[in-house]
Amino acid sequence: MNIKEILEKLSNAYGASGYESGAAEEVTSLLKNKIDDVIRDKMGSVIGVVRAKNPRGKMMIATHLDELALVVKGIDGRFIRVSWIGGWDRRVLIGQEVVVMGRKRLMGVVGSIPPHYTRGKKEDVPSWEELFVDVGLDEKELKKLVSIGDPVYMARRFTPLSGDYASGKALDNRASCAMLVSLLLQAKEEGINWDLYGVFTVQEEETGLGAFTSTYSINPDIGFAVDVTQGTSFGVGEDLAFPLGKGPVIATGPNIHPRIFETLKKIAEDKEIPYQIEPVPGLTGTDAAIIQIVREGIPTGLVSIPLRYMHTPVETVNLKDIDRTMRLLLYFLKEFEGIRMEVESGT
């Protein structure tokens, strides 16, 4: 299965923060019986394991599994009132097709007022209180099928675009999950020098729960997060974002162990993998920020895949960037010697 096929399955799977089961099952079925072990831990994260013959240590690579969604907060006549899971720009929700995970799946749309009714008036962006989801049912039927707490997903199918581009929902962070699935399968086939724990973490978009608990239980020697980063597009220049198609983005800064950063860069250059560098002066806003401070501290790296239109149902990535990220980390698992914890005195 190639990256595009893996990504299609993962993008179309449903798994909001705290409701990751659907996506977790999809990941599990992609890995089951193909690598050394696949476990679902106590908090819901999926861990795929590939062991080395003579391991230099344990390396954990975390990609968060959860996605943005809406959640039912009440029934208002024929309409469903919703709250948010993750950081939405409400403007993109208007007019989207959705799936309400009620007692059974219900198709619906986020309501929009037709221009016939707003003529001449300036349209205000609706508040969360004004926003509503419509599945076309009457109040009575609705109350039977939908309850407070049911998640509501964007009903967006994965779509390849021209070139190596593809668009869909939840590519933040299923693009990285697809990379990790592919990495685990490839590592098993080619052999590596570190025991690899590929962790598909839960609840990154809300609390970072999965990264805390999985890192604690695996207690790796080296930790990685792979996430998406802002991609350039109209109105979003290279001062804010990274161009797509130019390779993985390697982070450096206080959140990142310098040896990991330097080794990644060297490998990319040796193997002629195009890469970009993202200096992050503070915390990275990813699982890497959490992994680094678990237990006695874990040397941590962060590699990101550029992605356009983040936190919308039309998130867009370049498939080559995903593949290059996979190859970069695969070489790292073969070549990285490890970090010696000693204070070198200069004298």
Binding site: D89, V92, S112, H116, D134, Q230, S233, F234, V314, T316
Partner: protein, 338 residues
């Protein structure tokens, strides 16, 4: 009912070819005569064979609202402009298809992380939006996309029980209803008219009205249901599941009272639910047809649809069936009021 196929076909105003071809194939061999005109309207004639039969025109428009490519940036991103009434509020982060080949693209929407607070509080202007189809340069884009290419929403018809979700219900629902009348016998010379360019100013209907100049005309529409939680001064109407929507007046016509009364009486006699459209909202082909030559008594009947002029609307099958039933019953003796 051909609504599913009709809804999925692209046919933005001025580019109705594929819808017209589909309808033509459905009518071929069934109508006495089929023709088109300079604008692209399609006419199917069903004469009754009776002498002095009244001529009634049923009009449904084939076009839908959409977008048109108006420019290509050096980055390969596409500029566009709406065709028909589309608010930018429904455009952000929607999947679309471009041109006759249906090249997939998405309407861009900056990530919330890079947006300024003021930007989050208002909808962008159309000039601030782009379509991303995965092109890396203008040269690459120009191989697949041309200026003037039409863009339609990438929405596939879905059905769950009696509920339908899809694009272009305004007015493929009318096209489908007209097709469902084929085979029925009426004491009328019926002209099924499938018009073009309704959404850009009722343009096809103007010439159709002149060409056919019927004794009466009925626009068969998909109309904007108003049963969402906004208006304060009236109840929320028209509503889904409350039957066909009859227009008293909109921004294009004050309908013929005799025709309207006939439909109301028929509905009451046959126990078919009906409701009224909110006055002074929207306009339809009837608004042009009734102005033809010395005038044509005209009216509008419509299926209520929530979220027209947006990527996906919702409607109920029962409203479609009730509208069809009312049309059939009313046409049986409409000649009495013409």
């Amino acid at each position: 009912m051909e609504l599913e196929k009709l809804s999925n076909l692209p046919g933005v105003s001025g580019n109705e070819q594929r819808v017209r071809d589909f309808i033509y194939k459905k009518l071929k061999g069934k109508a006495k005569h089929i023709e088109t005109d300079a604008m692209g309207n399609l006419y199917a004639y069903f004469p009754s064979g009776r002498k002095n039969a009244k001529k009634v025109m049923l009009a449904a428009h084939m076009d839908e609202v959409g977008l048109m490519i108006t420019g290509i940036d050096s980055s390969g991103e596409l500029r566009f402009y709406p065709v028909g009434g589309i608010s930018t509020s429904v455009l952000l982060a929607k999947p679309v298809r471009i041109g006759n080949e249906g090249i997939p693209g998405v309407i861009e929407s900056k990530a919330i992380h890079v947006l300024k607070e003021e930007e989050l509080k208002q909808y962008p202007r159309i000039e601030q939006l782009r379509i991303d189809a995965g092109f890396s340069s203008k040269e690459e884009a120009e191989k697949k996309v041309k200026l003037g290419d039409y863009v339609y929403f990438d929405t596939t018809f879905k059905r769950e029980g009696d509920r339908f979700i899809g694009k272009a219900f305004d007015d493929r629902v009318g096209c489908s209803l007209l097709l469902d009348l084929v085979g029925e016998k009426f004491p009328l010379d019926l002209v099924l008219t499938f018009t073009v360019q309704e959404e850009v100013g009722l343009r096809g209907a103007r010439v159709a009205g002149y060409k056919i100049f019927p004794d009466a005309a009925i626009a068969v529409e998909g109309t904007a249901a108003g049963d969402f939680p906004i208006e304060k001064d009236t109840g929320a109407f028209p509503e889904l599941k409350k039957g066909p929507v009859l227009t008293v007046m909109d921004r294009s016509i004050i309908v013929d009272k005799k025709l309207l009364k006939h439909f109301i009486k028929t509905a009451e006699r046959e126990n078919i639910p009906y409701q009224f459209k909110r006055p002074n909202i929207g306009g339809t082909d009837a608004g042009r047809i009734h102005l033809s030559k010395t005038g044509v008594p005209s009216m509008v009947i419509a299926v209520p649809i929530r979220y027209i002029h947006a990527p996906a609307g919702i409607m109920r099958g029962i409203d479609y069936r009730d509208t069809l039933r009312l049309l059939k019953e009313a046409l049986k003796n409409i000649e009495e009021v013409i």
